[in-house]
């Protein structure tokens, strides 16, 4: 297996507040890694270190073997899908333009290709084509999340970063979306890093689960291994909440 994302002695603090003391982590290509931890434990920070939205104080992050500190961040980000809570859709663009956002940044001229990508991804996330000219506020919460996923995937990235993407939808919709993202992962083989604070979601979706405690990895293993052998009391406590 080859490593697609790697953290080496990554460190981040805000003033005196050390959020990530010393992170060492390897994520293999094609994995679906869920990142679980309580609020404020540093999940979002880790995610944003991968696409360079948060710069490191020390250490390195490698994406596909290259230190991102010496990469063109704009270019890097265009090849990493990014989906956030509440979908982050652009309210002034219709569904089609939202999904086409990154393809348009990449290949402005090739309208044909962009259009094809949009049609492909709207189907992959399980939406009807006639939603394409709707605006975000004309969609249900679940539909918005699906558009958010389609947008993140539209340029066919190798990596997809998702920050509590299903945090704001009802239980039934969340279950449907979870099944959907699992299917998409199997279908596309994209590497996913998925932040959640819901242990059931983490265990259900992840091929690997990272349990984060105060910016440090308490356990990093398959869902089965974590359930059978929790590494410490915190992990034990966490899975018992299930």
């Amino acid at each position: 297996m080859n490593t697609i994302i790697e953290f080496k002695h990554a460190r981040k603090s805000y003033g005196d507040h050390v959020v990530i003391p010393d992170l060492n982590l390897k994520i293999e290509k094609g994995e679906f890694v869920t990142l679980i931890g309580s609020s404020g434990s540093g999940k979002t920070t880790i995610l944003k270190m991968i696409n360079g939205l948060i710069p490191l104080d020390a250490g390195n992050v490698y994406v596909e073997g290259k230190d991102i500190a010496s990469e063109d961040l704009i270019c890097l980000r265009r090849n990493i899908g990014y989906a956030i809570q509440g979908s982050g859709l652009f309210p002034h663009m219709d569904v089609e333009d939202n999904i086409a956002y990154v393809p348009n940044l990449l290949n402005k001229k090739d309208k044909q290709r962009t259009r094809k990508a949009v049609e492909k991804w709207i189907q992959v996330v399980g939406l009807e084509r006639d939603l394409l000219d709707r605006y975000p506020d004309e969609l249900s919460g679940g539909q918005q999340q699906r558009v958010g996923i389609a947008r993140a995937l539209a340029a066919s990235p190798e990596i997809l970063l998702m920050d509590e993407p299903f945090g704001a939808v009802d239980d039934i919709t969340r279950h449907m979306l979870q099944d959907e993202i699992k299917r998409i992962h199997e279908q596309t083989g994209v590497t996913i890093v998925f932040v959640t604070h819901d242990i059931r979601e983490a265990l259900k979706l992840g091929t690997k689960v990272i349990v984060l405690e105060h910016g440090e990895i308490a356990q990093y293993d398959t869902p089965e291994a974590i359930q059978q052998a929790p590494a410490n009391d915190y992990v034990k406590q966490l899975i018992s909440d299930k």
Partner: protein, 517 residues
């Protein structure tokens, strides 16, 4: 109702005049709007990206906004002179606030998660600005913009105060010549213009921000944008706003009816007798205090002025001026400014004392000294001002030993009515007041020369007189042609009979036989 009909009639009869003013008004305001939009957007965007500077910049812009327009103009005149440049600068300065503030508010109120999403997907700063920030801020920016458009069009009305064009000319002329119909017509057109532009931009905004633009809307956007562009280009290309052509005499007049009449007469006769073109800047606000600096800079070549005013207000002499000092006045002007006083018109616009004609005849009163003998039987009226002035009532009273039975404060607008109704017997007047053109009133002779002399002349730059030697002779044609009572009669034609200053000037030149067909 009658008033409305008068306004409509005036607009109809003088359609050319008003249309020209509307066009000038649009020119000035559109140029200011264009500059302010670009500057305001840039500044608004800049402070949104550099939050630290935003309080300071908005504070400054806000402060400028609160300066009264008259003071701002007064402040700018020494730098940018009289006319369009100054007006446009002032308009732009005021227009900045709504543009900067709304652009800043519109951008900073965008949900930061949306901007972070755009950034996380690999947008450059510019792409975030163009694709995300500006479109999302557009409704707020547009409301500031429309606000600014209406304000600028209204404010352009002050342009004429410092000698620029536009509908303010009508308003200002109406005020100066006591013609409420004219003032109202100008104001009405400004209001309509502002309303119309707001309507157009409102439609444009709707069409621009429509979610599913249908064909009709798209066409509208295209037509409206094209029209605005054409209008702007037209305004720029055809504006003689800043350029100066050769063989042009720049003539200024003060905001007084008689100056407007004389200005028109000068233009007519100079253009008739030479190949010079005369450009009149009518009724420059602040009169001498703003015309004199512009004369010194060469922005104006000639203007009608009064000897006493030149002596006290321009040369800043403390003594009272009498015509025996004319040579001294002339010399001082030559030395200080290289201007000449030429071709006096023959009238003296100063204080005077007027008496009801029946009284003057009954007692055979011709001079102030004659009047002194009868004052214990007579009532004297003047505006409040006159009692306060150092050289006013008290000085007059002791100079001639007046001893009136009673003295009354009169409103300047009601003075003539009071003497006609017999409420007062004697009033203080200006010797060329239009209302003196009334055979029930007689102006007496100031036999001891109590009041300073304000003889009307042309003040001309010597440079202009040298460059166009034919000018002096032409000006001489009007020398001593206008007496106090003639001037009063001409003023009367404008102020009471509501004739145009130009028309009155033409009829007068015709009377003198100076007009060639």
């Amino acid at each position: 109702m009658d008033f409305i009909i008068d306004v409509l009639t005036l607009l109809h009869d003088r359609a050319d005049f008003f249309l020209n003013l509307v066009f000038q008004h649009l020119q000035i305001s559109l140029i200011a709007i264009l500059i302010a939009t670009i500057l305001g957007l840039l500044l608004g965007i800049w402070i949104s990206e550099h939050q630290k500077s935003s309080n300071l910049v908005i504070g400054i812009v806000n402060f400028i906004y609160t300066i009264p327009s008259i003071s701002l103009l007064g402040f700018l005149i020494p730098f940018s002179g009289i006319g369009n440049t100054t007006v446009i600068i002032a308009l732009v300065v005021y227009a900045l606030l709504p543009m900067v503030r709304n652009t800043h508010t519109g951008i900073t109120n965008i949900n930061p998660a949306i901007i972070e999403a755009a950034k996380g997907m690999g947008s450059t700063k510019m792409q975030i600005l163009w694709k995300i920030k500006l479109p999302l801020a557009l409704p707020t920016i547009m409301s500031g913009f429309r606000n600014m458009v209406v304000m600028t069009i209204a404010l352009t009305g002050i342009a004429s105060f410092i000698g620029a064009g536009g509908l303010g000319v009508a308003i200002y002329r109406g005020i100066t010549t006591n013609n409420a119909v004219m003032t109202f017509a100008g104001s009405l057109l400004i209001a309509l213009l502002a309303f119309f532009m707001d309507f157009i931009f409102g439609r444009l905004e709707k069409a621009l921000t429509a979610r599913r633009p249908n064909a009709k809307r798209k066409v509208f956007v295209e037509i409206a944008s094209a029209a605005i562009v054409v209008l702007l280009v037209f305004a720029m290309l055809f504006s003689n706003l800043f350029g100066k052509t050769d063989k042009v005499i720049h003539l200024a007049t003060k905001p007084m009816t008689e100056q407007m009449i004389i200005g028109e007469a000068l233009k007519m006769i100079i253009e008739q007798e030479s190949d010079l073109t005369v450009e009149i800047t009518e009724g420059v606000g602040g009169g001498t205090s703003n015309i004199q600096p512009a004369m010194e800079k060469g922005e104006f070549d000639i203007y009608p002025e009064y000897t006493g005013t030149g002596w006290n207000a321009v040369l800043k002499e403390k003594s009272i001026y009498h015509e025996s000092m004319f040579k001294e006045l002339q010399d001082k002007y030559k030395e200080a400014y290289d201007f000449s006083w030429v071709s006096g018109y023959g009238f003296n616009n100063t204080y005077g004392i007027a008496v009801a004609k029946d009284i003057a005849q009954a007692y055979n009163i011709k001079t102030y000294s004659d009047l002194a003998k009868y004052t214990p039987q007579l009532t004297f009226g003047a505006e409040y001002d006159f009692y306060e002035r150092e050289d006013g009532y008290e000085a007059l009273q002791s100079a001639y030993a007046f001893n009136f039975k009673e003295t009354v404060d009169l409103d300047i607008g009601l003075k003539y009515q009071s003497i006609q109704q017999g409420d007062v017997d004697v009033i203080v007047v200006f010797t060329t007041d239009g209302q003196l053109n009334d055979d029930r009133i007689v102006v007496l002779e100031d036999d001891k020369n109590f009041f300073p002399s304000y003889m009307a002349y042309n003040v001309v730059r010597n440079e202009t007189l040298t460059k166009y030697p034919e000018l002096k002779e032409i000006l001489d044609q009007l020398e001593n042609k206008i007496s106090d009572s003639t001037m009063a009669r001409l003023n009367y034609e404008v102020e009471v009979n509501k004739k145009e200053p130009k028309q009155v000037a033409k009829e007068f030149l015709d009377e003198l036989g100076l007009l060639k067909e």
